[in-house]
Structure formats: structure tokens, C-alpha cells
Symmetry: C2
Subunit: 434 residues, 2 copies
């Protein structure tokens, strides 16, 4: 078999066999197939597509390129969650403790932020001492001991995906649904997931801007689940406006802790309860979504989820005083409340503009090497549809630089659109695909 | 400007500007744009196409990537020719001396054979001593002195094309009409051509198997000519059966010399006269094709073309005794006449099978590094449509290895199809595009 023939077959819109996909991914991982061949192939995949079977085989080939985690000694059904990324999305920080507190062990590997989309690791590392580099042995030990792990991705998990993603980034081949779906799913599979809840976001603040794209991606990932024998539930959620109030690393961690304390914003609490309910059903801790929701609500109300989160922070070397007293978390020097310039109804809060403003303030990365400032960010005080009066607080700016604050203020004001006519609120979810 | 944005633009079916194409080709030539980016871009071009203006800009960008030859001090209108490659195509060896003998200087850079298609340099180097590595100064001097040069391509002529072609070869991006057309035309432009005759072959023994593909390629090259201010005449010629009788390096050179001596096979002589006539009209040595044809016929009949060829061989260090006595040329140890197994009419002589059989015998290269054997090959004694009787000579095998001879004999016999019904001869040409 020759790499060029596999490329030509995909170029000519033919379906690749499992053997051809394995050959290509193994060769690319080992280096016998060059970057330039993988780049031509990726462009052919992007333009000509893949069948669900091809995408499943690609997912498995990438998962097989490194080690697999086997969580079965600790948890009978390993349930994972993944979000396609958005602005203000601190769901994992709240959902994982809720689910673990309900008796379903969660061993989660998360990522860092890139571009306008934040990352769970950056947020939780606002707590001094918190380690995200657990060894596989530490991972399994902690999962058995407290039923909850939240760490970084092992370097040898689906290394083909890491290599291919870096290549796609510089060759214009990121925006391919089969490549996006197999990238997400290969890591979940290698991380040992038997079942998973995928939060597929759409809107201006998501990688999939339209609901149609998000639905197509969700359908491919659900198909990969079917073809690979995993239970997959995809939630189609909104990402036109930020999720919750806070955008920025320490700010979001604080909101996640406040939510565990029972004082979260309504939209974020609801989002977390829906994700947690699906995870509990997939993990067979509840028969129905309504039973699962009651379990999750109790875990929150009784403080068991918060206690689980404290256990997690302690187990991974973090300073638990920061959980009891979130005021200790890093805060910005400049904290400004910006008032509404008009009376009316909030028509739009452009999530991408908010996310990019947070990056401008120092909360995010433009390249993977950039440092982040945990303290800066934005508190978005309203939701689309809310009535607002001129002079009422609209948002809060958290900055450490006067010029950056001034630029961000103008940009964030501009990202808010206020209508004189009443506006319907945005839904949290558009549907479920399984 | 970023390379990835140029790739994305072409991926998204948008037209690239001249500036974007120049940026990409300059970057690729200098190394600031990586092979993997050029590979993704080439696949996007292959699958999404290019407008004539984009293809012209690509051609000019590749021509501008190295040095340009300026033939104007020696020849007022530099007329070049090019064949897209075929089996038994020794046209340049005969046409260049004919045209030069008619007073139109021809400074030609040719290539080597690859795959089933032979190369002019390999053929003429059957003459001991013949140099194909003239310096630019030697090239100009000889062109001024005798009006005829036939040498290899200068390494610094359109280097972007050489680099891109090598990449396309291993990334499944060869079969793209804009990339093929710009590759051919960039070298012709950089080699100083003001006008050119392009022999675009179609059929089983050509790179373009269908007439439609050949016509499409010819139309793109004619458009590049219009957009870049060059006169371009494309001849659509047949390559279902080999051209002339001989296939193999020394065999073809011998046939070219015999044609110059006035003893060429009818189809090859006609092919050469048509190509030469168009060149003479483009070079303004004749007003009409019929006047041009008379000039070419006279140059042949009066021995002036043969004399010019001898001058060429002498000027480039070749042993001219081989021109006077082609029997001196290397010949094979095993020479076998194979008889027709049936009576009827020749229905097909699969040119690709013949070309590949010649490669099998040692006449060609599978990779660029392979050595060739000048003496081996095949003499195809009939044309499609010819009546034939069982036991009459069908072809002659020239081999240096018993096993290879046996394999080739079977393959070549198989490449001949004989019908009991009369068969129309194949045309030499299907049309002219300018």
C-alpha cells in the first residue's frame, strides 16, 4: 500500500477501507508518511467528506495510535463529557463534582483555552498548587479513592490526533466535520469512555456558528458512537451569548464554586443539571432523566457536590481555602461597572466579541505558548431578552491595564445590542441527538 | 498575508488574486511556506479548480521564480514546441532541424522520459559525446551560430515548478489541469518563448486519456497564452497507437534521422510537417500554413534539415558519424520478428501497453534515478486499420534479456487487437485550438 494511492482514492471521492485508514494513520504517527501527504489527504477529506464508517475507522485508528486508559477496574461504566467550546463555559468544574457526588466516578482529562474559547485547566489552576499533570497511576488511584479526577490530557493519548491537529491548524483543514468529530472522539475513546455526553454548541461564540453545522457534527459523533459500541448523547446548546455571568479564568472558577454553593446563575445551573442528568442516566445511576435530575439537585442542595469538589482540590494538591473563600482567588486591579447606554431590551450579547475581549484583556491565548492572566475578565450582568434601563449596570470589567480596559470597554459595549421592542430570550438547548 | 489564509480562500472556492498567488509561490520557492501547506493548497486547486486568470498568474509566478532566457538578441520571434508526452514521439528530433533549416532559429530545452513516456534527451544521447548540459552562454552562442540548440533544462528555469511538481507527484495532485497547464507554460515562458506549438496528445498512451480532457488542457494553455501576450497554437493529436514505427531510445533517434534522410514512416512525416508548418507561421517565416508546409517539405527533400541536424550534433560534441551511419547506434542482442497470430484488420495497438513494455525491456525509467538501456525497444510494423495476414510480421522485439523478451512479447501481442471486419484508420489530429 502507498500513501499517495490512499490520497488519490479520497481525492476521487471513493470510500477508504479500514485497512487504508489504519495504514495512513499508523504511517503518519510513525513518520513514514510525511506531513505534506497528510496535508493533501486532509484537504481531500475536507472537500470530499467521509462516510460515518470511514470517520469511525479514523477515530479508532487515532485512538489506537497511543495508549488506552482502562477505567473498568474502578468504574463499571465510564462516562465522560465534552464541550465543543464556548465563552463562559465552566460546566465541567460544576458538573463533574455533582455527578461524582451522585456515586458515578468521573475521571476527566481537560484541555487549555485557545483563541476566544476558554479551557478548564486554566480555570482550575487559579487555585494555587492544583496539579494537572497526574501520572496514569495517580489518576487511577485518585479515581478509586474519591471518584473524581480532573487533570490534563496524557501526552500519549491519541498522539496521531495531536499531530494531525497541529498540521490542520496551518493548512486550512480545521473546518471539516469528520476531522473535528474524529479528533474529539478519538481522545474520549482512548481516555476509556464507555459513554459520553457531548455538549455541541452553536452560535457566534462557538466553533460551529450555525445550528445546522452543530447538528451535522453531533450526528457524526453519534454515528461514531453507534459504530464503535459507545453510548453517545449530544446536547445541542446555544452559544450566541455567554453561558452564566463570568468570563475569565478565576472569575469562572468562582462562579462554578458559587454554583456548587447553591448560588449560581439560573442559566448556568440549568445547563449543569441537564448535562449531569444525562451523565447519570448513561452511567446507569438513574433510570430516567427526571430521577437523575432529582439526584443532581439533591447533591447540590445538600452540599455534597461542593464537598466532592473540595476533595478533588485537596487530592490534586490545591489549596482548599480558596474553595471556602473564593475571595482569595486572584482579582484584577481595575474593576469597573459599565452602565447601559440605553433603555430597552437586550437583543444580543455577541459571545465571540466577549470571548475575544477577554483574550485581549489577557485571559486567553492567541498561540499555545502564551501566558494567561487568571484575574482578568468580564462579568456579563444580563441575558438576551432582559429589560434594561439606561444607567443600570450592564457589565463589569476586570482588567490590569488601563489601555486594555478602555479598548475592551468599547468593544464589549458594542457587543451588546439593545432594542426598543421586547425580545424573546434565547433557548439554552436546541435539541438532543443520540 | 498568511499562507493558511490563501489555502482557505482556495478551499472555499474563491478566486485568488495575483498578489496572493505571487506571495504563495515566492514563499514556497524560498522555503517560508512549507511543503505541507503547498500540498494542501495543491489539493484544493485540484478539487476546486482555477480560473484562466488565476492559472495565468500562477504560470507567471512560477516563471518568475528563477531566471528568464532572453532570446531576442538572436531570434526576433522565439518559437518553441512542446509535446504533452506519448509513445514513439520523437517529433522534436526531426521538427527542430526542419524549422531551423527554414531560417527560424530554435533554441530548445527538452526533458527526460518518465514512466511510459519517452524523453528527447534520452533519445539524442544515444549518440556518444552529445552534451545536454550547455551553459546559458553556450546556448546563446550556438543559437546565434547555427540557429539550433537541443539541450536539457537549466536548473534555475522556473524552480518553483520543479519543486511543486516533485511535491504533486507524492501527494496525488498531478492530475489537475490548471497545475499541468501552468507547469508546462511556466517553463516555456521562462525559456524565452514568444510563441509556441503545443502538441496535446490524447488516448490510451497519453497523460490525457480522453479528447475532452486534452481539449480542456489545450484551452487553458491557449488562455494562458492570451492572458500573457504569447501566441499559442495547440494541436490535438492522437496517442491511442504509437507515433511512427519505433519505440525505444536509439530506435527512435534512428527513425528521426531516417525521416530527415527522407525515409520516414508516413504518419510520423505528416505529424512533423504539421508541427513544423505551425512553428514557421508563428515565427513569421511563412504567411500561410501551405506556404510553410512547402518550405518544410523542401528543407527535408533538399537535405537541408539533415545537414542542420548534423551541425547540431557536431556543435554539442556528438559523434556525427552516427548521423551518417545510424547502424552504429547501440543495438540489442536479441532481435526477434513476431508474426501476426491472425488474419484481419488491426483494430487497436494499445500505446500505453507498448510504452510500458519498452520500459520493462529497459528503455525507460520508473523513478528518476533509474538508468536506461538505449538499445532496447519495439518496432511496431502496422497502424490501426491496416489489413494483416496470419504469419505476416507484426512487430520486432529488441531486447537484451531472454526473460524480459518473453514477457514483453506476450504483452505486446496482447496489446494488438485484430478484427475480422475492416477498421477505419485513426486520425493523426483531432483539431487545432489557438
Amino acid at each position: 500500500m502507498r500513501a499517495v494511492d490512499v490520497i488519490i482514492k479520497k481525492r476521487d471521492r471513493q470510500e477508504l477501507t479500514k485497512e487504508e485508514i489504519n495504514f495512513f494513520i499508523e504511517g503518519y504517527t510513525s513518520g513514514s508518511i510525511a506531513d505534506y501527504q497528510a496535508a493533501a489527504w486532509a484537504m481531500a477529506v475536507l472537500l470530499n467528506g467521509m462516510t460515518d464508517e470511514e470517520t469511525t475507522n479514523l477515530t479508532l485508528a487515532m485512538a489506537n495510535s497511543g495508549e488506552w486508559l482502562d477505567l473498568s477496574p474502578v468504574v463499571p461504566i465510564a462516562v465522560d463529557k465534552h464541550s465543543t467550546g464556548g465563552v463562559g463555559d465552566k460546566t465541567t468544574l460544576t458538573v463533574a463534582p455533582i455527578v461524582a457526588a451522585c456515586g458515578l466516578a468521573v475521571g476527566k482529562m481537560s484541555g487549555r483555552g485557545l483563541g476566544f474559547s476558554g479551557g478548564t485547566l486554566d480555570k482550575i489552576q487559579s487555585i494555587p498548587g492544583y496539579r494537572v499533570d497526574l501520572t496514569p497511576a495517580e489518576f487511577m488511584e485518585q479515581l478509586a479513592a474519591i471518584g473524581l479526577v480532573l487533570t490534563g490530557q496524557s501526552a500519549n493519548l491519541a498522539p496521531a490526533d495531536g499531530k494531525l491537529y497541529a498540521l490542520r491548524d496551518v493548512t486550512g483543514t480545521v473546518q471539516s466535520l469528520p476531522l473535528i468529530a474524529s479528533s474529539i472522539m478519538s481522545k474520549k475513546l482512548a481516555a476509556g469512555a464507555d459513554a459520553m455526553v457531548l455538549d455541541v454548541k452553536s452560535g457566534v461564540g462557538a466553533f460551529m456558528e450555525t445550528l445546522e453545522e452543530a447538528r451535522a457534527l453531533a450526528e457524526i459523533m453519534a454515528a461514531i458512537g453507534r459504530h464503535s459500541g459507545r453510548k453517545v448523547v449530544c446536547l445541542l446548546s446555544d452559544m450566541n451569548q455567554p453561558l452564566g455571568i463570568q468570563v475569565g479564568n478565576a472569575l469562572e472558577l468562582r462562579e462554578a464554586i458559587e454554583t456548587l454553593q447553591g448560588a449560581g446563575p439560573a442559566d448556568f445551573v440549568e445547563h449543569c443539571l441537564v448535562v449531569a442528568s444525562h451523565m447519570l442516566v448513561l452511567g446507569k445511576k438513574a433510570q430516567t432523566l427526571s430521577t437523575a435530575r432529582q439526584m443532581a439537585e439533591s447533591a447540590l442542595a445538600e452540599g455534597r457536590a461542593l464537598a466532592k469538589f473540595k476533595q478533588l482540590v485537596q487530592a490534586q494538591g490545591g489549596d482548599v481555602r480558596y474553595v471556602d473563600h473564593p475571595d482569595l482567588l486572584p482579582s484584577a486591579e481595575i474593576i469597573e461597572v459599565i452602565d447601559s447606554p440605553a433603555t430597552g431590551f437586550i437583543e444580543a450579547i455577541d459571545a465571540r466579541e466577549i470571548g475575544e475581549s477577554a483574550v485581549d484583556l489577557g485571559a486567553g491565548r492567541i498561540t499555545k505558548q502564551d501566558d494567561i492572566d487568571p484575574s482578568v475578565g468580564i462579568s456579563i450582568l444580563h441575558k438576551v431578552g432582559d429589560p434594561i434601563r439606561k444607567g443600570d449596570p450592564l457589565f463589569v470589567l476586570h482588567a490590569n491595564n488601563r489601555n486594555l480596559a478602555d479598548t475592551a470597554r468599547a468593544r464589549i459595549l458594542n457587543a451588546h445590542r439593545i432594542s426598543s421592542e421586547p425580545i424573546d430570550p434565547l433557548p439554552l438547548f436546541y435539541g438532543v441527538i443520540e
